[in-house]
């Protein structure tokens, strides 16, 4: 017993420098991440508003309340459909653009900048750009669609179209980020592999599907997970472009959490909703990691 204690002490002493190096990070992590996470969980077990002058412990009541809260289920459904539309579109488009841009051609830098540029703008700017583009009567989108004999389409005021319209705006905003990641991944594939493949007669699409794509898997895995996490947390676009409407058709989870906390004064319930969102993201990420590792 004494020996174990001494060896622990010794190893601690030996690694002291290392601990010291990570200490500043852990201080901030503890203060700004760990503490809020724990505090948030405690909050989710109470009935309170943001003022916090009257806090009642209610156990798991907030979590039980979700079962019968129609708005929560609709928000969950909307978030899931947004994720299911956003992630595949985003990833496929990013791989496609990365492949096109990962060659030597004149105007490569300009093209890459154009793809990446939207990412530099803040979400409110993006939302307002698309509000104008989506304007059904004089917006650019319907104007050009009318040449094709399509429309006019009610992009944001039609409940069955609005969420899809938000997806398009989001993909435009975020795809550049993923293009850069995929291009980095492509550049890490050793040229010898391609040369060997070429000798074996693999070119064009065959080469893309048999070599590029499989070797991109680590990058793709990373991009998909990050994209899913980001999609689950979608808020800004919805809040500005539709405010969750029409008739709640674009109210996503974070939007509902925000409304619950700040407009309905139900901070405890909002904390519980946040925890469910946290668990959802965690479960999906873990499943994905395990599944991809097994293969």
């Amino acid at each position: 017993m004494a020996k174990a204690k001494r060896s622990f002490y010794r190893s601690f002493k030996e690694n002291l420098t290392g601990y010291m190096f990570v200490l500043p990070y852990f201080c901030f992590f503890g203060l700004f991440t760990l503490y809020p996470i724990l505090q948030g969980f405690f909050m989710s077990l109470t009935e309170r508003d943001i003022f916090g002058f009257d806090i009642r412990f209610v156990g798991l009541k907030n979590y039980a309340q979700m079962l019968t809260d129609q708005r929560f289920w609709t928000a969950l459904k909307n978030t899931a459909s947004f994720t299911l539309m956003d992630v595949p579109t985003n990833v496929v488009l990013a791989i496609l653009l990365a492949t096109l841009l990962n060659r030597h051609f004149r105007g490569k830098e300009i093209s890459l900048s154009m793809v990446f540029f939207p990412r530099l703008l803040s979400i409110s700017v993006i939302a307002f750009i698309w509000l104008w583009l989506y304007e059904p009567e004089w917006g650019l989108l319907n104007h050009y669609l009318s040449f094709l004999g399509v429309g006019p389409i009610s992009w944001l005021r039609n409940p069955s179209v609005a969420l899809r319209a938000v997806v398009v705006a989001t993909v435009w905003w975020t795809v550049g980020n993923n293009v850069v990641l995929f291009m980095a991944g492509m550049q890490q594939i050793p040229t010898e592999v391609y040369e060997a493949a070429e000798l074996d007669g693999s070119v064009g699409l065959h080469r893309f599907f048999r070599i590029t794509l499989p070797l991109l898997r680590p990058t793709a895995q990373f991009v998909v997970i990050m994209q899913i996490i980001a999609s689950f947390q979608i808020f800004g676009q919805v809040n500005i472009m539709t405010g969750g409407g029409p008739a709640g058709a674009t109210r996503v989870l974070v939007q509902y959490i925000y409304e619950t906390g700040f407009s309905y004064f139900e901070m405890g319930y909002a904390a519980a909703l946040s925890y469910i969102l946290f668990l959802l993201i965690m479960v999906v990420s873990v499943i994905q990691l395990v599944w991809l590792r097994e293969r």
């Binding site: 009610s154 005021r157 409940p159 008739a247 309905y264 004064f265």
Partner: protein, 404 residues
Amino acid sequence: MKRKILVFLVLACVLMTASTAMAKTVSITFRDLFSGPDSDLMDEMVAKFNELHPHIHVERQLTTWDNYYDQLQLAIGSGQAPDLAVVHTRWLPAFAARNALVPLDEYVQKAGLSSEAFIEAAWNGGFYKDVQYGIPLDIIVSVVLFYNEDLMAQAGIENPPTNMEEFISYAQQIQEKTDAWGVILPGGYAAYRNFFSTLYQAGASVVNEEGTAANFNNDAGRAALQFWVDLYHKYQVAPLDVTQPLEAFRLGRGGFYVDGVFNSPGLDAQEDLNYGVTTIPAFFNNNRSFFANSHNFVIPRQRRLDPEKVEAAMEFVNWMVRNTHNWSAVPSLIEVTETEEVLNSARGQVLEQLPDLVYPPALIDIGRVETAIQEAMEAALQGDIDVATALERAEAEVNSILGR
């Protein structure tokens, strides 16, 4: 001689100390949500007050209106509240019931503010359960009729409509004789305010007098909602899909626009737009009720309440309500509404309609109640469900919220 000088010096010292003590200024922080031209006006008013009152210094803390309430709630919750803030009548009960505001009764009396001097409905909006928490600065006319004078002239219409029949037939005429829509209508919460106004015109209300049950799932409520649905689907004089309605009206795409009077600055920016503003028609029963709101001065709950600061804040409030001659909204003080500046401005036109103003009901869960009604209303306006189903759905949800 030396002695005289000494006495003089001592006296001078005493006097100087006394005068610095007398000139000790009380600093108070004031947080509001005004933006654009309103913000500039507010800056001017605060600067003038500070100039005239050397013993008080009001420091204005600027917050943008779209996250004003989030920040105010956080500030109060963390004990960092400003000494004075602004809360709309709509949100005042929600804040007061949650102990976020300081009761003002004793300070109001001390400051010499009295109910008789104010427009009654505005004054009453500062109360929750018979305790005063707010003093109204103004009255915001949140639903008015904007009309495009050029389009009306093209359609041969002289005066803006005053009732439902005129409104519909004028809209149809504009649509027939010009390229524009008859009416442009806003969506979201602005649409709720419009529906709210017709609800009261038709004889219904959001909740009953006791605030215990919904009072709109009835003939009057159905007629009110049906009217807005019909504009889109039966008469087809309004576009359902417009996403930026104010812009649409600004660009001359519609003859009429129904929204809050605070949209005027955005319209004034368009030089070739000739428009007028008037109260909304009496769509029902010759009744011109409309949704109104007020900016109330409130003292947010402090970690430690400093009576000196509260008194300074009250002096500021007392001065502010008396100096709203050039403010953009209707003054809350009767005396100011009778001045030339107000009578000759656009606000003067609204004055005779003041008996028709209706404030949102004093409910602590106003946010949830309004969401329930707004969402059902939107589904009906889209044509997804009929009016009766929409109101039944909203009624059930509102009653369950009120019953909690």
